[in-house]
């Protein structure tokens, strides 16, 4: 292995280490914030399922398929072990 390729490999290791130590924490924070906003939107769209009248239910109907995919993870995150009628989600 030549000196150049060794240096390049060492640089890549340094980049990976830096990424894990500093950048991963930053990205995690951004993902957490994105998820928080997504959770708020999901709660609003699923208001009817939570027993609350939603005046814009008709308008948000189309968004439901995009938001139910991870509804199980969401209700567990919110502290509810189950969601909706038995068998609907879990």
């Amino acid at each position: 292995m030549s000196l150049t390729s060794r240096l390049a490999a060492a640089w890549r290791r340094l980049e990976r280490g830096h990424d894990q130590l500093f950048v991963a924490r930053w990205r995690q924070g951004v993902r957490r914030e994105a998820r928080r906003q997504q959770d708020t939107l999901r709660a609003l769209v699923l208001l009817e399922s939570l027993g609350v009248d939603n005046p814009v239910a008709y308008e948000t109907l189309e968004a439901i398929p995009y938001l139910v995919a991870d509804v199980h993870a969401w209700h567990r995150r919110m502290g509810q072990e189950s969601f909706g009628d038995a068998g609907v989600c879990c």
Partner: protein, 573 residues
């Protein structure tokens, strides 16, 4: 004595503490199990719950807990000599902070990575949750007040540092956007960003920003107080922005600055071979507080800090790959913070002055010591940086930027968190106007510490910064006391020996209560009608905590003797 000798002795003691005492804690007190499936695996979601390599997780944990507090506290406390300050930092780190940080992590991991506030409700009782909220409210109020004063003082003393700090904001936003929008490695942009930040020091030297022209000599609108008002106006706006716009990128730059500052201190001490010129024990002058018990509330972060339990149980416990990693991450996090405090002690006893006469002038009274604490640290670090060939004028601004950056980010986070706490307390109290209105909640989160921050040195009603700092220390120690109480009850219920947890718990509560009572007497005598009620409220919280801890421990012991199973944790609502 050469500073390097002290640094080496402390390093050996910290190593022994980690090697033997944390091993005892891991096996006999917290009984870590390598086969236990941690929440990072059982609840993995790729965001909060994510198994992480223990060295990387230690880096995340350390950068979250380290800030300006372990710098300022020791910088004030060396007023009593370097001996008591160093002894408390070393013994506190090994026997109190290590037990506390490691314990909070271990207990949280066994309770689905729940936060210490929720754990207080589960392990002690529902009243403990309300107690936790109140302690955190006062902790955050005082955090925001003391750091506003620290930054104000540094801006007045170092007008050349103002422009680099202002430029740090667009720089942080730029780096944040780069990382957000690209998937490539961020090492080079980060290096460029840090270089640009420090290059702006030259610009700051050309364009120093001072408010002396518009400020009054004394009274409410002194230069320091105008900076304090501007800082709170900034935090009011900054805390309303999404975290990814400004707070996170600033934190990202700070995490680099932390390692750079530690490197400069370490290398500067080794290369310069500076001598400690401060006395080991300094006689307390008339009118200044005695070191016993005030040392133990002046140095909170760096010896033991309740804030760490919030980080341990808030984010770190969700990422622990194996339960046995808690020993390395939790205990070493405390050791890292202790090392930063030792760096501050060395900077303020060896770096800051060449002779004891010079040092005595800087630490002539408690008021002088506390008002100049951050500036003394800045001067000391600048001296260490000079040992590495950096010119004094640049080194001073470099060190000021590091401290101001840490303190400003802490204020941003503090006001943000305080807003949530204000809303939660208002919700419990039924004050919906406040709980439902973010602007009013934020205004309250800003105005209360603003009033506290404007009074130090503000005419006849004023008081010294050190007194405000000590009140902050008491709330931090009470947070640690609550976390230690939770850990002690948890350990007792498992029929393990809780002495290792009870000793720091009893010591902390005793010292904090004692200092609060002495201060209360002083405040009433001096007719300090802002501080006296505040001190009295914190003292009532301390008594409440003592009663709850004693009752919970007794109940836990009886339950353990009766062989009752531990109650199931409730779900968050």
């Amino acid at each position: 004595m050469p500073a390097i000798v002290v640094a080496l002795v402390v390093a050996v003691l910290f190593f022994l503490g980690y090697r033997y005492y944390s091993s005892y804690l891991a096996t006999k007190v917290y009984a870590l199990d390598p086969a236990f499936v941690t929440p990072a695996h059982s609840m993995r979601d790729g965001v909060d719950f994510m198994p992480t390599n223990k060295h990387v997780l230690f880096g995340h944990h350390f950068t979250s807990v380290a800030g300006a507090a372990p710098i300022v506290g020791p910088a004030i406390a060396v007023f009593w000599g370097w001996g008591p300050a160093l002894a408390w930092v070393v013994l506190g780190t090994i026997f109190a902070a290590g037990v506390h940080d490691f314990g909070a992590l271990a207990v949280s991991v066994r309770h689905r990575a729940r936060s210490i506030g929720s754990l207080a409700k589960d392990v002690i009782n529902k009243r403990a949750r309300a107690l936790f909220l109140l302690i955190i409210f006062f902790l955050l109020t005082l955090v925001n007040a003391v750091f506003a004063v620290v930054i104000g003082n540094l801006f007045v003393a170092n007008p050349e540092a103002v422009l680099p700090i202002l430029l740090e904001i667009p720089l942080a936003i730029g780096i944040g956007q780069y990382i957000y929008r690209t998937r490539s490695a961020a090492l080079i942009p980060s290096i460029v960003g840090v270089i640009l930040l420090y290059a702006s020091i030259l610009l700051g030297q050309l364009l120093p920003i001072s408010l002396a022209g518009i400020a009054a000599e004394d009274g409410l609108f002194t230069e320091r107080n105008i900076w304090v008002i501007l800082l709170f106006a900034y935090t009011f706006i900054a805390s309303r922005l999404p975290v990814w716009v400004l707070l996170q990128p600033r934190d990202y730059i700070n995490s680099h600055q932390l390692f750079i500052a530690l490197g400069v201190i370490g290398l500067g001490v080794i290369v310069g071979m500076d001598q400690i010129v401060a006395p080991a024990f300094n006689d307390t002058p008339e009118g200044s507080p005695h070191w016993f018990p005030f040392l133990f509330i002046t140095i909170a972060c760096g010896a033991i800090s309740g804030f760490h339990s919030l980080v341990s149980s808030g984010t770190t416990s969700k990422q622990l790959d194996k339960e046995t990693d808690a020993r390395y991450v939790g205990y070493m996090g405390a050791v890292g913070e202790g090392s930063l405090a030792v760096g501050s002690i060395l900077a303020c006893t060896a770096g800051i002055a060449a002779t004891q006469v010079e040092w005595n002038e800087l630490y002539a009274s408690f008021a002088t010591a506390s008002d100049g604490a951050a500036g003394n640290f800045v001067g000391g670090v600048a001296s260490f940086a000079e040992n590495l060939g950096i010119s004094n004028s640049i080194a001073v601004i470099f060190a000021a930027i590091v401290v101001i950056s840490f303190a400003a980010t802490t204020m941003d986070t503090g006001v943000r968190l305080q807003r949530y706490i204000v809303q939660e307390i208002a919700e419990i109290a039924g004050a919906r106007v406040i709980s439902r209105n973010v602007t009013i909640a934020t205004a309250l989160a800003v105005l209360i510490p603003l009033v506290m921050a404007l009074l130090p040195g503000g005419g006849e009603a004023g008081y010294t910064f050190g007194v405000l700092w000590q009140l902050f220390g008491t709330t931090n120690q009470l947070t640690a006391g609550l976390a230690l109480a939770v850990i002690a009850v948890w350990v007792t219920r498992r029929r393990r020996n809780p002495v290792a947890v009870l000793i720091p718990l009893v010591f902390l509560l005793a010292m904090t209560s004692w200092a609060l009572v002495v201060n209360l007497g002083n405040f009433i005598e001096e007719q300090q009608w802002v501080l006296a009620p505040l001190d009295a409220i914190i003292f009532v919280l301390a008594l409440w905590l003592i009663v709850e801890a004693a009752l919970a421990l007794r109940k836990g012991r009886l339950a353990a003797l009766a062989g009752e199973p531990e109650p199931e944790p409730e779900h968050e609502r």
